[in-house]
């Protein structure tokens, strides 16, 4: 559980910042997804955008978490 908080929380903050910057510069109604205009409602686009940012940031946090584990711990658990 604690591990997941270390991964999910920092990525949540940064996803919020990224979301704010991205969507204040880009209008969700003018986005294209796989060549087609995005046709979701604005709030759905914002939300999906946020969740996507969150996921990407969480991957980065996960890597940080995995790489900073001390050697002993990695050896113990393989």
């Amino acid at each position: 559980m604690q591990k997941w908080m270390w991964i999910l929380w920092p990525s949540f903050i940064i996803a919020g910042v990224a979301e704010g910057i991205f969507f204040s510069l880009v209008n969700p109604q003018e986005l294209y997804f796989l060549g087609d205009p995005v046709h979701y409602s604005a709030i759905a686009t914002y939300s999906i955008g946020f969740l996507a940012f969150w996921m990407v940031c969480a991957c980065s946090s996960f890597l940080t978490w995995s790489l900073q584990r001390p050697a002993g711990e990695v050896n113990a658990r393989g």
Partner: protein, 478 residues
């Protein structure tokens, strides 16, 4: 000093026998903290701030302005309303400046008086305070809560815990609703909630924020400050030896120890601290301020109030724990000396930057036009010849009426002798809308040189409250 029986009860010492509850929480295996209720000057300030910030937060979203919500970050229409001010996506610059202003105000406050924000204004502190108060109403103060938690499940315990959880949940739900109401018009949202027509995403965010409030203020509490808050980790950078922080006066207090009332502690070789642990019991983050400044301390000043009451009871001067600075403590400065040291390079630099940014912001706002025009030049069609030997260029202008009235605008072109518009001279636009207009502009080929000639569009509101000049180039073929 006479104390009422109630006040005396507050500083009565609770036996430490109650077993502490250890729970595995999101961030740590922690000892549950049971902050004891505290009264006094700083407690009154804290509650004042709770009431002020929450009246603002819960109330502002219902305030009307020109038939709309006064403060609304309408993310669907991409317009931000702040009373008379309407910000469009192209005004994102203003929001960025607002953020910079907030950041530097925070730096300034922190440099001068430490974690004032944390202790008195941060939503985390404010909601924890409110949730703790609810907890106290249902479960009693520190001692009673410890006893309740360590005791077996009973009907009374179930009722007390259930009542608390229910009240917490209601408050959290209202907070979540209010929060979403700053991003979607709150009256519509209210209707949707009651008619069960809330969209899936709105429901999701509403539940998300409610759950967030409930968890953070009800369960996580000091852990948010200790493990989740970036500011708590960085604030030390803004501190210096002249920053006001909450300090225990070691020189005066140590050696600690209990004593009989009325005895001169020095005669027993003791300092002023009676080692009653009250300052530890009231601390919402569960630390002992007597160990020195710690990053866990959120500067709530609860320990000051608590210790002052003990000092009063013992007939010692107040302020064994007080706001002071590192320098003041080591050099025995009084208040006047402390205040003299508020003005120092760090503070002046923060104030300088802050005043520059604030003036730039105000200047931008005051000179902000309610009319915005962009020339979109059609690359395909250059100049062409029309009747009478004139050259015609076609321009497309995106005109945006940012004001809250229906507007008529007069359009003129200038820059070449005899240049004129062949199309309408007056355009109209509803409030808060933008449209692209096409203009045919004609001029004598002899009036300029072959190639590009600078011209400009002059657009003026017939109400006289806005005007715009937009540069363009008029092309004359060879």
């Amino acid at each position: 000093m006479n104390l009422s029986p109630q006040q005396q009860k507050i500083i009565e010492i609770v036996p430490q026998g109650a077993p502490s509850i250890v729970e595995e929480s999101l961030f740590e295996v922690r000892k549950k903290i049971y902050p004891r209720a505290v009264t006094g000057l700083f407690a009154r300030w804290r509650w004042g701030m709770v009431i002020f910030t929450q009246l603002l937060f819960y109330g502002l979203c219902w305030v009307p302005w020109n038939d709309r919500q006064a403060v609304l970050f309408n993310i669907v229409e991409r317009k931000f309303y702040l009373f008379g001010l309407v910000l469009w996506p192209q005004d994102v610059f203003y929001l960025a400046i607002l953020l910079i202003i907030s950041a530097f105000s925070l730096f300034l406050f922190t440099a001068v008086a430490g974690r004032l924000w944390c202790g008195f204004a941060c939503p985390q502190t404010v909601y924890t305070e409110v949730f703790l108060w609810i907890e106290r109403v249902f479960e009693g103060d520190r001692g009673a809560r410890m006893k309740l938690d360590s005791g077996d499940m009973s009907q009374v315990k179930l009722l007390r815990k259930g009542g608390k959880v229910l009240t917490w949940a209601l408050l959290a739900a209202w907070t979540g609703f209010t929060f979403v109401g700053y991003f979607t018009p709150i009256h519509e949202l209210w209707g949707e909630v009651w008619n069960f027509r809330l969209g899936p995403w709105e429901s999701f965010w509403l539940c998300f924020y409610s759950a967030f409030t409930y968890l953070n203020a009800g369960h996580m509490r000091e852990q948010v400050c200790k493990y989740m808050c970036p500011y708590a980790r960085f604030q030390g950078v803004m501190f210096d030896p002249d920053t006001l922080v909450i300090t225990y006066d070691t020189e005066r207090g140590d050696p600690r120890g209990s004593r009989k009332k009325g005895i001169d502690p020095r005669s027993e070789g003791k300092g002023d601290c009676v080692d009653c642990q009250i300052c530890v019991q009231v601390c919402p983050t569960g630390i002992d301020i007597r160990d020195g400044l710690q990053y866990e301390c959120i500067g709530c000043a609860a320990c000051i109030d608590a210790c002052d009451q003990v000092m009063e009871k013992m007939n010692y001067p107040k302020g064994l724990i007080r706001y002071s600075t590192e320098n003041a403590l080591s050099q025995h400065w009084g208040w006047r000396e402390i205040l003299r040291h508020v003005v120092r390079p760090r503070v002046l630099i923060y104030m300088g930057i802050l005043s520059i940014v604030v003036s730039a912001f105000l200047f931008g706002l005051l000179t902000k036009s309610s009319l915005q025009v962009n020339v979109i030049r059609d690359r395909g069609i250059m100049g062409r010849e029309v009747e009478g030997g004139l050259i015609e260029n076609v321009f497309r202008l995106q005109v945006m009426n940012v004001s809250e009235h229906y507007q008529f605008y007069a359009v003129k072109v200038e820059g070449l002798p005899g240049i004129k518009l062949a199309s309408d001279h007056v355009i109209e636009l509803p409030a808060e809308s933008s449209r692209v207009f096409t203009f045919e502009v004609r001029a004598d080929p002899e009036s300029g040189k072959p190639g590009s000639n600078p011209i400009s569009f002059e657009i003026e509101s017939l109400l006289g409250d806005a005007e715009a000049h937009e540069k363009a180039t008029f092309f004359i073929p060879r």
